[in-house]
Amino acid sequence: AQTVTQSQPEMSVQEAETVTLSCTYDTSENNYYLFWYKQPPSRQMILVIRQEAYKQQNATENRFSVNFQKAAKSFSLKISDSQLGDTAMYFCAFMKPLAGGTSYGKLTFGQGTILTVHP
């Protein structure tokens, strides 16, 4: 079974600064997907960024980027120019496809990191 570990229960950052959230995972699979989801207080869980394991290039989405180290099984999230609206619980998640070549699978989540952005 896959496990996902987020070793930072809480993080804080000043507005406009950069913060990195850590995530490691354990799997024997070679083909899988990785995600970071954001869950603001009492609000919907939304996708921040995604990465396919077969892609060596790190994914980026505006102010969000990942550092994907497949051999080390590490998938950290960097948030640049932090904004107050980035305050949320961040979940790292792993998906092994249940059918080859598809996105049909089950997400395994880490325990989450509560990020607080201070003005």
Binding site: Q44, M45, I46, L107, G110
Partner: protein, 114 residues
């Protein structure tokens, strides 16, 4: 906008009184999931449907059941809620098709058991 809608947003039920949570989607996705999320914890998968095929997680209590009458709707039935079942219940969908398609989550239903 296409989306995943969960009703109600907040549900209060009594200990042992059956309760049903609902989820609908306008995304026409093949896969629908139910997750249980207790306070400040990671979401835990209860079960999922690929079309009409039901897939139960091994550690999901028998107290939890689900129905998917059509593509758009999925229900979570808790037959005899206990105090330990108080949680946020998240519905999510995905295409289940090719490529890296993420899960789309609803707003969740927060269940309180009194």
């Amino acid at each position: 906008d296409a989306m995943v809608i969960q009703n109600p947003r907040y549900q209060v039920t009594q200990f042992g009184k059956p309760v049903t949570l609902s989820c609908s989607q306008t995304l026409n996705h093949n896969v629908m999931y139910w997750y249980q999320q207790k306070s400040s914890q990671a979401p835990k998968l209860l079960f999922h449907y690929y079309d009409k095929d039901f897939n139960n997680e091994a550690d999901t209590p028998d107290n939890f059941q689900s129905r998917r009458p059509n593509t758009s709707f999925c229900f979570l039935d808790i037959r005899s809620p206990g105090l330990g079942d108080a949680a946020m219940y998240l519905c999510a969908t995905s295409t289940g098709g090719t490529g890296n398609s993420p899960l789309h989550f609803g707003n969740g239903t927060r269940l309180t058991v009194t």
